[in-house]
């Protein structure tokens, strides 16, 4: 594809360069901002006056739901990752992310997932209308019969796949690709923020994946998790909020750490307590995985459990207090340059403090009984996520725009944007905070309620706030057209990305960045044949096609099977393209000059480790869903009566043996006995295939006996849990088939490939080791 130029559409469809992917994320996230923002303005206009009927109740619900989902999942996080894609490799001295094609795949899955969810608006019954939390039983076919809700759930699954790929990519990149000499505490704050964010994503998103899988099964296959009284609302609450609370920090941290990057630059002094801020964020991140129950105080859960959740939630305010104080101390007595990025950073800090303080009230069980479901809560999370996180990211956009575009924006327009943004935002958010007795999710209200004034002010503020973004877009457009040359370092910043020209060349640096022990950065020239130019503009059509195929499969599942079959064909063809494509990236791994976490773990292997850590949480979500409905059921079939023990035991022996044959193949690869490697891989493949065939026969037999997906909970849980495991075996077999073909063509590097694959295959075995007793013996 050497003939494709950067000005062509095909270049942008096939690019894998991290800076291009960052720009694609940036443009797409702003597109979704416009979608989500337009919906918000629609329902704010509806609420401005009592008893208004601009939107019907159903349309209002759709607008509110899609607004929430789009803003949190398709705008805020992706905006943070737009900057991360562009900036993080520059900040650590890498020439790209660890897996460029995987990065492109993340983007395309994100885009197609959003399109899939949005298609719901054009289907009978409209889009998903459950509220952004997609609570059960509203998410079931009984209350949301429209196909739009199924499309929303499937779009979410595509987004989760995108997030998983990004998580693995950033973790490997930050741990394996930094410049020689760059220690943990040398890393700039934004990179730290992204590192902590992806750690949270690794453990939080699989819970949403489990919830989404179960919901998709309920809606597409007719299983009974959320329809039944035994599963129902509380199971969804637990799965969703185990993801949902960390998600607040996943959205917040990129914005907060962009602020941490900006404050010292414009205060012209080092960040106060950098190490303390990082450790405080680590503490808050770990705590965030333990407090999901505070979203369920009013559901009648165990009282002791509620108390534990209260204490843990209130504890979170301590690390965030430390972070806030450190930010303020950075500014005290400083000679501050009030440029646009700094203005937005300061506004973000103030908004975050307001959102944080109001959050403390919500952690009290007693207050939560009064505040839950009111506009107070809406005000709180808008101050945190919009006022805090989004404002921080806008600050980051202004800050890094000269690096990205090579041009300065207009400072005067930036300041006007800031004034409109802050005034509009606070009119909106503070007014809805005052609507402490107005319930959320009502599409209109009576005149005598007394809510008119605050609603009117909130809508006026929202309009000003929304329009202020047009000024931002105009400013950026104008900057591209006739902005002044930015030069490499217009802010006199200290971090690595400012040492390269603006915009940076494809390979990022003209040499190898090196960080000395005291943190001084230098760039040493590379030999001409250093190989750093090999991949940076490497184009691949596979990531876009894989995403398109997945999109068509999911669309077909919801609408029409022929579309799904076309999607499967595209998917299969694109996976073959992916496997056959010549791709060299060995040269990209950073050199390790000092002790560093995961030293000695090759980057593909490390990527697989991160992947299975996330997968472990996914299966724990599926297993707890099974245990939940089982313990909530008054009766359950005795062990050995519902499922054939002989089949389960046979499959256990088969899978254990396949793990052994794979280890044997690896041992042979180490010894260079290539015929033995092939024999081991082929035997492992055959055993995996027999496992799947055995499973298929078992399912067919159960179906023949009338035990369908929706016949009863024991069978619903069996099909979903073992089906998810079977899908993992199938994915393993696809990779194994590739390895077998490769082993016949070339033997170089086969040892490393088998070793990386083995980590995944043995994990699949470990999962089955627990599923066998759970379903067949217990």
């Amino acid at each position: 594809m050497a003939e494709i130029t950067p000005n062509s559409v095909r270049y942008w469809l096939f690019t894998t360069n991290h800076k291009n992917i960052g720009i694609l994320y940036l443009v797409t996230s702003f597109y979704f901002l416009l979608v989500g923002g337009a919906l918000a303005l629609l329902f704010r206009l509806q609420l401005a006056m009592p008893q208004t009927e601009i939107l019907s109740a159903s349309s209002f619900n759709q607008a509110v739901t899609v607004h929430g989902l789009v803003m949190v999942l398709w705008f805020l996080s992706p905006l943070g990752f737009a900057l991360a894609n562009y900036i993080v490799p520059l900040q650590i001295g890498a020439n790209d992310l660890a897996f460029p094609r995987l990065n492109a795949l993340s983007y395309w899955l994100y885009l197609f997932g959003g399109i899939l969810a949005a298609i719901g608006f054009f289907t009978p019954g409209g889009a998903i209308d459950t509220g952004w939390t997609v609570y059960a039983p509203l998410n079931t076919a009984k209350y949301s019969p429209q196909v739009g809700t199924t499309l929303g759930a499937l779009g979410l699954l595509m987004l989760i796949a995108s997030v998983t790929a990004s998580t693995v990519n950033f973790l490997v990149t930050i741990f394996k690709m930094r410049a020689p000499g760059m220690r943990l505490m040398h890393m700039p704050m934004y990179t730290w923020g992204i590192l902590l964010t992806v750690f949270l994503m690794l453990f939080a998103f699989p819970a949403l994946a489990a919830a989404g899988l179960v919901l998709a099964a309920d809606r597409a296959l007719g299983t009974l998790y959320f329809v039944s009284q035994e599963g129902g609302a509380l199971l969804w609450d637990n799965l969703f909020w185990f993801f949902g609370h960390p998600e607040v920090y996943i959205v917040l941290l990129p914005g907060l750490f962009a602020v941490a990057e900006i404050l010292p630059v414009f205060a012209r002094r080092p960040l106060y307590g950098k190490r303390v801020i990082i450790w405080a964020t680590v503490a808050a991140s770990i705590l965030s995985l333990m407090v999901w129950g505070h979203h369920m105080f009013t559901t009648g859960v165990n009282p002791l459990w509620r108390e534990v959740m209260t204490v843990l939630t209130e504890t979170i305010s301590i690390p965030f207090g430390v972070i806030t104080i450190s930010f303020i101390l950075t500014l005290v007595g400083a000679s501050i340059r009030l440029k646009t990025p700094m203005l937005f950073a300061l506004a973000s800090l103030v908004h975050f403090i307001i959102g944080g303080i109001t959050g403390v009230f919500n952690s009290s069980v007693a207050l939560d009984y009064g505040l839950r479901g009111t506009y107070w809560v809406v005000g709180h999370f808008h101050y945190t996520l919009l006022g805090g996180a989004a404002t921080g990211l806008i600050a980051g956009l202004y800050y890094w725009w000269p690096k990205i575009s090579g041009r300065m924006y207009d400072e005067r327009l930036g300041r006007i944007h800031f004034i409109l943004y802050v005034v509009g935002y606070n009119l909106f958010a503070f007014s809805i905070h005052l609507l402490i007795d107005m319930p959320r999710r009502v599409y209109t209200y009576p005149l005598e309620s007394g809510w008119l004034l605050n609603n009117m002010v909130a809508t006026t503020g929202a309009l000003i706030f929304g329009l202020s973004f047009l000024l931002l877009f105009f400013n950026l457009y104008r900057s591209l057209r006739k902005g002044a040359e930015a030069g490499p370092n217009p802010w006199s910043s200290w971090s690595l990305e400012w040492l390269t020209p603006s915009p940076p060349p494809p390979e990022n640096y003209g040499g190898q960045p090196v960080v000395s022990a005291d943190g001084v950065i230098s760039i040493t020239p590379l030999p001409i044949d250093g190989g750093r130019h090999m991949h940076v503009n490497h184009l691949s059509k596979a990531p876009m096609l894989v995403s398109l195929g997945t999109f068509a499969v999911f669309l077909g599942l919801a609408l029409s099977m022929p579309i799904a079959l076309v999607g499967l064909a595209i998917l299969a063809a694109s996976l073959i393209i992916w496997a056959r494509e010549s791709w060299s990236s060995h040269h990209m791994e950073g050199l390790e000059f000092e002790k560093w976490p995961f030293q000695g773990v090759e980057k593909t292997r490390l990527g697989v480790w991160w992947l299975i850590f996330g997968e472990a949480v996914l299966f724990s979500g599926l297993i707890l869903s099974y245990l939940w409905v089982r313990f909530m059921s008054a009766s359950w079939p005795a062990a050995g009566t519902a499922f054939d023990l002989t089949t389960g035991a046979a499959n256990t022996f088969i899978l254990l043996t396949s793990s052994f044959t794979l280890v044997a193949a690896l041992a042979a690869a180490r010894l260079g006995r290539h015929s033995m490697v092939r024999a081991g891989l082929l035997t492992t493949f055959a055993l995996g295939l027999v496992f799947l065939l055995n499973k298929a026969l078992e399912w067919a037999h159960l179906f023949a006996e009338g035990h369908t997906f929706g016949s009863s909970l024991p069978f619903s849980t069996f099909y979903v849990t073992t089906g998810a495991h079977g899908a993992h075996v199938l994915a393993g077999l696809i990779v194994l088939a590739y390895l077998i073909v490769r082993s016949f063509r070339k033997t170089e590097g086969i040892h490393e490939s088998v070793e990386s694959f083995g980590i995944y295959w043995h994990f699949v075995d470990i999962v089955w080791v627990f599923l066998f007793p759970l379903f067949y013996l217990f």
Binding site: F203, W292, R605, W628, F631, V663, A667, H762, I766
Partner: protein
């Protein structure tokens, strides 16, 4: 890992599975049965992780995150199930 060690581990895994099947046929107290059954499953999983995945060979950092993941996964299950204790009592 040596081939003979891998073979020995496989034999142990098979024996542990046979033990699980034997447990199922043995009349035991429910609690003892549950603990034994999932104890054996945990043992098998540990053997696969240590000998086949070779998690210990990867260095301490991978092992630390392996255990952290286990804690998150187990904590998730235990946390959710404990939240329902009162609900179960009133529901059933």
């Amino acid at each position: 890992m040596r081939f003979s060690t891998a073979l020995f581990v496989w034999v142990l895994l098979v024996l542990a599975t046979v033990a699980e099947l034997a447990l199922f046929r043995t009349p035991l107290d429910r609690t003892l049965f549950t603990v034994s059954l999932f104890g054996l499953a945990g043992l098998k999983a540990s053997m696969i992780a240590v000998f086949y995945q070779q998690v210990t060979r990867e260095g301490g950092d991978v092992a630390v995150f392996y255990f952290f993941t286990l804690w998150v996964a187990l904590g998730f299950i235990i946390g959710v199930l404990t939240s329902m204790s009162q609900i179960t009592a009133t529901h059933v």
